[in-house]
């Protein structure tokens, strides 16, 4: 018995009223700008960045041709993914009828895994999928995020925006509260960032682990004392879309280093 009132929508509606106007002058700022010098240096140095271990794992999976199989990811996309186009990677999440509508980069990798390589499907956020996602996104490091916002995406972005401004959990807070209304202010010793996602999957110094975007959403939900949604759920996909397009123009930083 988790939520009783599904959407406590009054504050949400009002927040959108206020927010509609703010969106016009919005300048995205990467979480990188909120880091201290030494953490930035760690992220920027290929050998110091602990997330590069996961990039390497992803590369191995990408190139790996299993004995009983005819192809690997590399068969189509080149050794080490040299045929992957950073501009295409920067478009994710995309709208693709063939993939069932809104599709994240993990959905795209899963699709190849199941249909091109004919492998047993992996659950969303499986470590192998996260490693592949980290490797692929890292190929586009520096490329500006460029998610489609018009056409079939625009109603989906609206849904994502609604979730973003819905209060959840015993703390009764929304994403919007920290990352829009109070961004730049101090929550105890921590400066609130815009909650941008251009560096995901990212390496977290606090946990010492590579962290997918949906896992990070779950952490926020738990900090609200809310019942989180599942990785790969409709809700997290919509949130991913909303958050990623909000960061259009920011360089891809995968694997970012964060606290």
């Amino acid at each position: 018995m988790a939520g009783y009132v599904e959407m406590r929508a009054l504050a949400l509606g009002a927040a959108i009223l206020v927010w509609g106007g703010q969106a016009l002058g919005f300048e995205p700022v990467s979480g990188y700008e909120f880091l201290d010098e030494s953490t930035r240096a760690m992220q920027d140095d290929e050998f110091e960045n602990p997330g590069m271990v996961t990039v390497d794992e992803g590369r191995d999976l990408f190139n790996e041709r299993r004995p009983d199989e005819e192809a690997s990811c590399a068969s189509c996309h080149g050794e080490d993914g040299e045929k992957l186009d950073p501009a295409v990677i920067a478009r994710y999440p995309i709208y693709d009828e063939h993939l069932g509508g809104l599709a994240t980069l993990q959905d795209r990798v899963s699709y190849c895994w199941e249909n091109r390589l004919d492998r047993f499907p992996l659950p969303y956020d499986d470590p192998q999928l996260v490693a592949l996602e980290t490797f692929v996104r890292n190929k586009a490091r520096g490329e500006p995020v460029n998610v489609q916002t018009d056409g079939p995406m625009s109603p989906l972005i609206e849904k994502g925006r609604q979730l973003y401004s819905t209060r959840f959990g015993q703390l009764d807070m929304s994403c919007y509260h920290c990352h829009v209304q109070h961004q730049g202010q101090m929550l105890r010793g921590q400066k609130l960032s815009q909650g941008q996602a251009n560096g995901f999957p990212e390496y977290r110094l606090g946990t010492g682990r590579i962290t997918s975007l949906h896992h990070r959403f779950g952490e926020c939900f738990r900090s609200f004392r809310a019942d989180p949604f599942e990785p790969g759920s409709e809700e997290y996909r919509l949130l991913e879309l909303f958050v990623m397009q909000r960061g259009n123009g920011l360089p891809i930083e995968t694997p970012a280093v964060r606290f």
């Binding site: 988790a2 009783y4 009132v5 406590r8 509606g13 959840f168 109070h182 101090m186």
Partner: protein
């Protein structure tokens, strides 16, 4: 105009779901705000200011310090999300302070500040461990209020 309509629809959604609420926990102290204040202590309890001060800086208690600057010099890293509370009792009466701790959304519907004794049935998708519970107990709210009134 369209946004205004949306807002009205949302208000009516809130109104209809309100009828389906389950009963409150039996030990919940009922309160009523009047002129943005709750003048009566919750269940008539008497607060202890020293305990209130400790709760205000306790990360597992009220954790007011996460968002507010407090007159607690031994603690570092005070939050800046809300206004400093150093002289808050010179701005507000005891009843006004109580409402702000109990349910700040009554003062500002957009606020980030959790309602520490808000009707727990109003929260959305609460984790099972916290479902139906207020953030603080009535006694803890009274302890914090007893400390806040000393901040002149």
């Amino acid at each position: 105009m369209r946004t205004l309509l949306t807002l009205l629809v949302l208000i009516s959604v809130t109104a209809t779901t309100a009828q389906e609420l389950p009963p409150l926990p039996s030990d919940y102290c009922h309160w009523k705000a009047d002129h943005l204040a709750i003048d009566e202590a919750l269940c008539g309890l008497k607060g202890n200011p020293a305990r209130g001060r400790a709760l205000a800086i306790d990360p597992h208690g009220g954790n007011c310090i996460a968002c507010h600057h407090l007159p607690v010099p031994e603690e570092s890293f005070h939050g800046t999300i809300g206004p400093p509370l150093d002289k808050v009792a010179s701005r507000y009466t005891e009843g006004q302070l109580r409402l702000r701790v109990v349910d700040e959304q009554q003062v500002n519907p957009f606020t980030i500040m959790p309602g520490f004794y808000r009707d727990p049935r109003l929260a959305n998708r609460v984790a099972d461990a916290y479902w139906g519970k207020t953030f603080l107990t009535a006694q803890q709210v009274e302890d914090i209020v007893a400390w806040l009134v000393t901040l002149k």
